[in-house]
């Protein structure tokens, strides 16, 4: 647990967290290791955990019938994988595949949601960190949809 607390404290995502909040989050965390090609989760599965990448690279992809999977984003060291754990019905809307050997910290969603309900200061700290990520990804998605490199 102390190791995980230490590891989490070094991640930019948790910068500024109090020791108490770090301890609470670490209580919901565990280490994961994924080989290249292994999936962190698949579309439709229960979003009962989200991930902070320590090393490696993860592709977010969607599958259309009869087509090879379409990768719409890749995430690397220090980045968060997954926001579906925040909103009901807590189901993944895409696949997450390790592109290389990837080490990540998984944070149990039900555990953390419970702690955020019990301690709204913790919940607010989490929201302050998640909201900018969601906004950045929304902006990036808009830019992708605009297809700015295509012919006008």
């Amino acid at each position: 647990m102390e190791d995980l607390e230490h590891i989490l404290a070094e991640q930019p995502f948790f910068a500024g967290f109090s020791a108490e909040h770090s301890r609470l989050v670490a209580g919901c965390a565990r280490n994961h290791r994924y080989d290249a090609g292994e999936y962190l989760f698949r579309e439709g599965e229960s979003a009962d955990e989200f991930f902070l990448i320590r090393h490696g690279q993860v592709a977010l992809e969607m599958v259309a019938p009869g087509r090879t999977p379409i990768v719409f984003a890749t995430l690397g060291e220090g980045e968060i994988v997954g926001a579906s754990w925040l909103v009901p019905p807590y189901r993944w809307m895409f696949d997450a595949r390790a592109m290389a050997l990837t080490r990540a910290i998984g944070i149990d969603a039900a555990c953390l949601r419970g702690k955020c309900e019990a301690d709204h200061h913790l919940g607010y700290e989490m929201m302050k960190r998640f909201t900018p990520i969601l906004v950045q990804r929304l902006h990036a998605t808009r830019l992708q949809i605009l297809d700015v490199y295509g012919k006008r």
Partner: protein, 278 residues
């Protein structure tokens, strides 16, 4: 002794296409050599007006020089004139006026970190600046090249990007907007790479070129990273006709892009940058 008369800026000089290289399905790079006299000096970032006889004239950025005698122009077929130019074969003749406009602050950036952010065909006007910096690498701090493309298939100058990536003294990241699972690189928009790049924002010059929407997001990300507005440069694109600031077609606020640009310092155009009417 009287100075040699300057050529009339409205009269095209004749150039021969000595090499035409297909880059992408709709994009070609032409090597142009003057039929008479030396090739004029150019600064990275400047443009020439290329004239396809019987079709018309278009402003095309200089994308490099194969040697002291030639210009390189990478042209994408997006209309009648650019299409005619992009389809020119080796041996063809083209009219050329220029070079015109402002260049990238390559010399002024010496001693500082330098971040290039290019999107799509925007790599073409930045390429001569990148080549110049890499040729004089010891004069610069950290050199970061960030490039975004539509997909892996439409990646401009792929071979040269791979050569740059092999260098140990350059940080280069390439991303694409969309890919299938065969692509092992980054997927996402190029401004997002800025957050992951390493440079000293207090002593960094940021240069960006690409579609204007992409540059808006890029400038925002560079500012967010801590680079001051007066250290960010972008290459603007407007409808250039005369190329010498007379006709007004490329007016951008109080400036003319052909004369005061295309490379412009962001703090000087910030108030006009988001005004959609200009």
């Amino acid at each position: 002794m009287a100075a040699a008369p300057q050529p009339d800026p409205f009269v095209p000089q004749l150039y021969r296409v000595t090499r035409a290289r297909r880059e992408l399905a709709d994009t070609a790079t032409l090597q142009l050599v003057p039929l008479a006299g030396p090739r004029p000096h150019f600064e990275p970032g400047q443009f020439n007006m290329l004239y396809a006889f019987g079709v018309g004239e278009a402003a095309i950025s200089i994308s490099g020089a194969a040697d002291a005698m030639s210009f390189l122009h990478t042209v994408r077929d997006v209309g009648a004139v650019s299409g005619a130019i992009a389809k020119l074969k080796t041996g063809a003749t083209v009219g050329l006026r220029g070079p015109f406009g402002t260049g990238w602050p390559v010399a002024a950036a010496q001693g500082a970190d330098i971040v290039f952010v290019a999107g799509g065909l925007g790599l073409a006007p930045l390429r001569p600046a990148i080549r110049q910096v890499l040729a004089d690498r010891r004069r610069y701090g950290r050199v970061v090249i960030l490039f975004g493309s539509r997909n892996p298939k439409d990646m401009l100058y792929r071979r040269e990007l791979e050569q740059w990536r092999q260098r140990l003294d350059v940080d280069i990241e390439v991303t694409v907007d969309h890919a299938d699972a065969d692509w092992h690189g980054s997927v996402g928009v190029v401004p997002a790479l800025i957050r992951r790049a390493t440079f000293d924002p207090r002593d960094t010059i940021g240069l960006t070129c690409g579609p204007e929407v992409m540059m808006r997001f890029t400038v925002s990300a560079l500012l967010e990273a801590g680079i001051a507005a007066d250290r960010i440069y972008l290459s603007m694109e407007r409808n250039m006709k005369c190329a010498i600031g007379l006709c007004g077609h490329c007016q951008f606020g109080p400036a003319f892009v052909c004369r005061d640009g295309p490379v412009m310092r962001f703090d000087r155009i910030a108030e006009f940058f988001a005004v959609r009417e200009i």
